[in-house]
């Protein structure tokens, strides 16, 4: 079953198109990662999907409901952690959790139980009596995310929830999210930290300039865009390595004036054979060898770079045709 289905979704502000005719579909019980550089259209898309703003065109279906027609019904079934901080400055941490549960009409016993559970899960016991105004930005972010779990929901939107969190709090949050997904929750997740997306997401979409430029599982994205691998060859001391490496031919090879040769190639097996042949022919001993798999970060950078080049090309052709 699809939890989120958007078709030809666009949002414009005057002449600026923040979201440009995107299609999205998120399956129930999955974690969907939504990545993109700053200003790519991630937050606008979340605001559209959570009914905060209306689309200029296109349709949005959330949990089987037309979001434009039944925004309140949709909002009763979803949770949203927005990118910007939100908190009640005068309330203590535990009171703000409790009041948030009350706002969602959660009965008082369940509220009490959940407050305790979330204070423990998000490591907030020590600051439970402190006012939101008196805690750090990272702690406030933890309270903001924890608060959203006070109520029941089928779909949770998390817009960069780990901003400001230390590595241990970040890992704790990601694991908590994974646990909730095992219980049936669906997550729509945006982040700038690509290791997080790789660790967490079942499927990833990359948006740039308001357009979706890639959608797939992390592994498939690596297969599609990450063919190029990095090979590092550690050698013994040798003279004139630069000249010797010219024998490698078409492959992109660099060395650090010392004992490490780095090679980037989509055709990594052939390249490795070639470099070993050259080294062997010159009596240079190989001491160590490693192949670094392509990270999601490299794929992200590649995909966005390609997209920027295309976008730049279009802009150039548009401006030349304007003339």
């Amino acid at each position: 079953m699809l939890c989120v289905e958007a078709k030809s979704l666009s949002k414009s502000y005057g002449n600026v198109t923040a979201v440009d005719s995107i299609d999205l579909s998120v399956e129930s019980g999955k974690i969907f990662g939504f990545l993109g550089p700053n200003g790519a259209g991630k937050t606008t898309t979340i605001k559209l999907l959570t009914t905060l703003i209306l689309p200029t065109s296109g349709t949005i279906n959330i949990l089987g409901m037309d979001a434009a027609r039944y925004p309140l019904k949709v909002r009763k079934k979803i949770g949203v952690v927005l990118q910007q901080p939100s908190y009640e400055p005068n309330l203590t941490v535990e009171r703000s959790l409790e009041k948030y549960g009350m706002m969602w009409d959660v009965d008082s016993k369940t509220r009490r139980d959940r407050v305790e559970e979330l204070l423990a899960a998000f490591d907030l016991q020590e600051i439970r009596k402190k006012k939101n105004d008196d805690i750090s930005i990272g702690q406030r972010r933890r309270v903001q995310v924890a608060r959203e779990f006070m109520h029941d929901m089928d779909l949770l939107f998390l817009d960069e929830p780990t901003v400001g969190l230390d590595p241990s709090a970040r890992r704790g949050l990601l694991d908590y999210i994974k646990g909730k997904v095992r219980d049936g929750l669906t997550i729509f997740f945006t982040t700038h930290i690509l290791e997080e997306a790789e660790y967490l997401c079942d499927e990833i979409a990359i948006i740039n300039h308001g357009k979706i430029i890639a959608v797939d599982t992390p592994d498939e994205l690596k297969n599609k865009f990450g063919r190029e691998k990095t090979i590092k060859v550690h050698i013994g001391k040798a003279e004139d390595v630069g000249a010797i490496l010219q024998g490698v031919g078409k492959y992109e090879v660099s060395h650090d004036e010392g004992t490490v040769i780095t090679l980037h190639s989509a055709d990594s097996e052939q390249a490795l054979v070639k470099i070993l042949q050259v080294l062997n022919a010159n009596n240079i001993a190989v001491e160590d060898l490693s192949v670094v798999p392509t990270s999601l970060e490299e794929i992200f950078l590649t995909v966005v770079k390609n997209s920027n080049n295309n976008f730049g090309g279009k802009l150039a052709s548009n401006s030349s045709s304007d003339k």
């Binding site: 605001k47 909002r75 979803i78 949203v80 969602w104 009965d107 008082s108 369940t110 029941d152």
Partner: protein
């Protein structure tokens, strides 16, 4: 797992929880008490009595009845502060992605200021009662006048505070504007002194101020002095509240996210 509370009731609960802190209670109780008991008796040496309808009120009775209207106005500052804080601390958007509509958010603010206005009026009536009990004429006609003035005044001043909160972004700007506007309302009114005997320009200025109408209706209710002028003032209050509430609602519903 769900309770059965209406969304507006839940929002009112939340509004009251975040608003009613020690600072606000001091502002709402200590400040008027000082005015009533210190200024009230101190000024008696200068102002022996104030003619009001068929009665002559002593100054403590006059000022304590005026403080009811003044306190209703002050309490409605809460409305602006709630909206402004919600925008500043991200709760406005958070509420609107929750199980609430904008209309419910706006109405919850109206009810919140109505409740705070009524409680405020009741509190000052209780505190001031020993001072004006000799002249008081509560009856089935006059008590509703005080309740009417409390609710209409709360909506009117709450709307003004809401309008200001939707237009200003910086905390300095918000504080300066709201304090200036409410200071003008407080002191250019009949809350502290009668219009009769004031210089004509000042007396005219008094009647450009909605607090004067609110205070006059409250006094009419307490001292049983319902006249044609009071009826006219009630109409002005209702009209003012309706217009300002419409503007506040329009601005709030168009507030960008």
């Amino acid at each position: 797992m769900e309770g059965n509370l209406h969304p507006i009731v839940r929002l009112i609960n939340r509004n009251l929880t975040i608003s009613l802190n020690m600072g606000f209670v001091i502002w709402q109780v200590i400040f008027p008490v000082i005015y009533i008991f210190v200024a009230g008796f101190a000024y008696t040496a200068l102002i022996h009595n104030v003619p009001f309808g068929q009665k002559n009120l002593d100054y403590p009775a006059f000022i304590s009845s005026g403080m009811i209207g003044f306190n209703i106005m002050n309490s409605t500052l809460i409305s602006g502060i709630i909206i402004w804080n919600d925008r500043r601390h991200g709760m406005f958007e958070q509420i609107l992605v929750g199980p609430f509509t904008r209309a419910q958010y706006i109405l919850s603010n109206v009810y919140t200021i109505g409740i705070i206005g009524l409680v405020s009026a009741g509190l000052i009536t209780a505190i001031g009662y020993p001072l004006f009990f000799k002249s008081v004429e509560f009856n089935i006609l006059t008590v509703p006048l005080v309740v009417f003035a409390s609710i209409t005044g709360a909506i009117l001043f709450g709307s003004i505070a809401s309008i200001i909160s939707t237009r200003l972004k910086s905390s300095e700007g918000f504080n300066v504007v709201i304090n200036t506007v409410f200071l003008f309302f407080a002191f250019v009114s009949t809350a502290f002194y009668p219009a009769e005997g004031a210089p004509p320009i000042l007396a005219t200025a008094f009647y450009l101020n909605p607090l004067t109408y609110l205070v006059d209706v409250v006094r009419a209710g307490i001292f049983g002095n319902f006249t044609g002028t009071v009826a006219y003032e009630m109409v002005v209050l209702v009209a003012g509240a309706a217009v300002l509430f419409s503007i506040a609602t329009k601005l709030l519903s168009k507030l960008e996210i």
